[in-house]
Symmetry: C2
Subunit: 334 residues, 2 copies
C-alpha cells in the first residue's frame, strides 16, 4: 500500500466532474505535503437527529476539515443512508471545519479562491501537532500497541481481523473468523462486523455510533443468537466495522468499546450494544517486551488508555479535556 | 471561450488514466502560470518519412515542448494516420523539446521528478519572449492584422471562415461558404478545407504540410473541378484546415500559403498544391486605419510578412534566421 496509489485514487474519483477534478488536484498539489492525508468523496454524517448523510468533496482527517465544492449545477445533496453507503466508513463530521469554494468560469478567479483555501489549510496544519500520514505505520497494530490506546474518533483501520486482535496483545500470526476473545480482559470480545446486509444478517450502527444492533432475518436464528449473547457470551466488545478501503477491497475500522444493553435488546428483539468508550487500551503480547507505563486514563472505573510517555498523555488530556476522566500516574512518571 | 474551460478540458482528457491525471494536474498547478497554454493528448507527427504519428501527453505550444508520461503498462504508441485523427490538428513536433517522466509507485519520487520538469519548463518560459496566452486575442483576426502576418508554425486558429478572411482585410460581418477571394492579391483565394473524408471529398494534407491534394471520389466531379482549378480559378491559396477545437466544435487553423502544382496534379489525377511560404502578410480592411509599415519580408519575390514595429521584425528575423529572406526597410524605420 503506497501513498501514491491512495492519492491517485482520490484524484481519480472526481474524474467525471471536471470542476471538482480541477479544484481537488490544485489543492493537493499546492498543499504539496506528503504528510497530509486527503480523502475525496467521503461519506459524512450531516445531522444525527435527522439521520442525513452527504458526500464531502474533500476530507482532511488529520485536521478534521472538509472542503465543499459548490458547482453551479449541483449542490451537494443530503441523503438518507442507503445500503451502498453502509459499506463505507462514515465520518462523524458534525464538528468539522468546512471550507466552501464556488465554481466560476474564470481561471484567475478560481485559482485565487483555491489558493486562499490552500493557505487556510496550511495554517491549520501548522497550528496543530497532527499525526504525520504514514501508510505503513497507520495500518500496523504495533503503532497503537506502543502508543497505548485505540481512539475511534481517529478513523483507525486495519487490513485483517488478526491485526485488530493484535492491538490487544493476541500475538496471532494468522486468524480465521470475525473475532476472538480478549486475552487480557475476561469481559471483552474483539469483533469485526458488517454494517450492511449480508448473509441474512442486517446489523446497524447508529448515525452517531453511540449504539449498534445485531440482527438475523431468520427469527429462529435471531432468537437463538440473542439468547446466547445475552446469557453466555462476553458482554463487552472491541468493535471493528468492515468497510470499503480507499486502497480497494475492505478494511476494519475501530469504532469503540461497546457493551450489551440487555433491556433494550429484549425490547427491540435484536442484540443492542451501547458505546461505553471511544478509546480502549492496547496491550503488548505476552512474548513482547512491554514498555513501562507512566499513566492510565480511567473513566467509570474502566481503564480506557495506557500511556508510555508524557507527551502522549498530554495530547490525550488536551483532546479529552471536557470528559470525566481520572488519570492514574505511575511511580516512574516524571 | 474561457481559459478555465480550456484547461479543465485538458485535465479531464487524462481522466481514465490516473497516473497521467496526477502528472498533468501537478505540472499545471505547480507551473501556476495562466499565461501558459497547455494542451493534453495532442496529435503530433513523429516521423515525416514513415508518416507515423503519436499522441503527446502534454504539449506546450508557446515553447514547442512536449512532456511524455511513460506509464509502466504502456509506451506511447506510434500510429498510422487514421480518419479520426484527420479531424484533429496535428502538430509538427519533429524539433520539439521532449521531457520524459517515468511513472513509479512512490509519491515522494513522483513529486520530485515532476517538480524537476516543472522547473525546467519554467526556465524555458523565462528564457524566451513567448506570446502570453490570451484566448480572446488568440482567436481575434485583428491580433494578426495589427501584427502584420500569419505564421503556420504557430498554430493560429479562428472560429469562422469570416475571421480567416478578415485576416486579409476582407472586412466581412458575416460569410457563408468555405472561402473567398483575397481582396488585395489577385492571385490568391482564401480557403477552408476539411482534411478528412466528407461528402465525397477526400482531401489530404501531407505529414510535413509541404503539400496537399483536393480529390472528389466521383471521377466526373473530380475531373471537372480539376479543370476549373487548373485553368480558371486563382492559383494560390491561403489555406485553413477545419479541425476539432479544444473548446468543442471545430475551428480553422492556418496552414500556410500554397500554390497549385499543375504538373503533379495531372500526374496524380487530383489537384495538388505546394506550400510556398509558412507565413503570409495580413491586411487592414479598406475602411480601417492601417498602421504604418516599418518593413516587409520578401522571399522568392513574394511579400511574406509586414511589420509595424521593430521588435516584431527582430522576433521574425530571429525565428527565420536560416531562411533566404530579404527585408525591405521603410523610410520610417528607426
Amino acid at each position: 500500500m503506497k501513498k501514491y496509489n491512495f492519492i491517485k485514487k482520490q484524484l481519480s474519483k472526481t474524474n467525471k466532474k471536471n470542476d471538482e477534478n480541477y479544484v481537488v488536484s490544485r489543492i493537493w498539489h499546492l498543499l504539496n505535503n506528503s504528510d497530509v492525508k486527503m480523502i475525496t468523496q467521503q461519506y459524512i454524517v450531516r445531522d444525527v437527529a435527522t439521520k442525513t448523510y452527504a458526500l464531502a468533496d474533500i476530507y482532511f482527517p488529520q485536521i478534521n476539515t472538509i472542503v465543499e465544492i459548490d458547482e453551479p449545477y449541483h449542490l451537494s445533496d443530503e441523503m438518507v443512508l442507503s445500503d451502498t453507503m453502509r459499506q463505507h466508513d462514515i465520518v462523524q463530521a458534525i464538528e468539522c471545519e468546512v471550507f466552501r469554494i464556488k465554481v466560476t468560469n474564470d481561471l484567475q478567479e478560481m485559482n485565487e479562491k483555491i489558493d486562499e483555501i490552500v493557505l487556510a489549510l496550511r495554517q491549520q496544519f501548522d497550528r496543530i501537532d497532527y499525526q504525520v500520514w504514514d501508510v505503513e505505520q497507520e495500518y500496523n497494530p504495533m503503532t497503537y500497541v506502543q502508543r497505548g490506546y485505540l481512539d475511534a474518533t481517529e478513523h483507525v483501520a486495519f487490513k485483517t481481523v488478526k491485526d485488530c486482535c493484535n492491538c490487544f496483545g493476541a500475538g496471532y500470526k494468522g486468524l480465521q473468523g470475525s473475532g476472538a476473545k480478549h486475552k487480557f480482559q475476561d469481559a471483552i470480545d474483539i469483533k469485526a462486523l458488517k454494517f450492511y446486509p449480508n448473509a441474512n444478517w442486517d446489523n446497524e450502527l447508529s448515525a452517531n455510533e453511540q449504539y449498534f444492533t445485531e440482527y438475523h432475518t431468520d427469527a429462529e436464528v435471531n432468537a437463538s443468537y440473542m439468547k446466547k449473547r445475552l446469557d453466555e457470551l462476553r458482554q463487552e466488545l472491541a468493535l471493528f466495522a468492515h468497510v470499503r478501503s480507499e486502497f480497494g477491497g475492505f478494511e476494519y475500522v475501530f469504532k469503540g468499546w461497546y457493551k450489551v444493553n440487555p433491556k433494550r435488546s429484549l425490547e427491540l428483539g435484536k442484540v443492542c450494544y451501547d458505546r461505553i468508550s471511544t478509546t480502549m487500551p492496547t496491550y503488548f503480547a505476552s512474548d513482547q517486551v512491554a514498555y513501562v507505563k507512566v499513566a492510565k486514563a480511567i473513566e467509570n472505573n474502566r481503564e480506557i488508555a495506557f500511556f508510555y510517555d508524557k507527551e502522549e498523555l498530554e495530547r490525550f488530556q488536551e483532546r479529552y479535556k471536557d470528559a470525566d476522566i481520572t488519570y492514574e500516574l505511575m511511580s516512574n512518571y516524571s
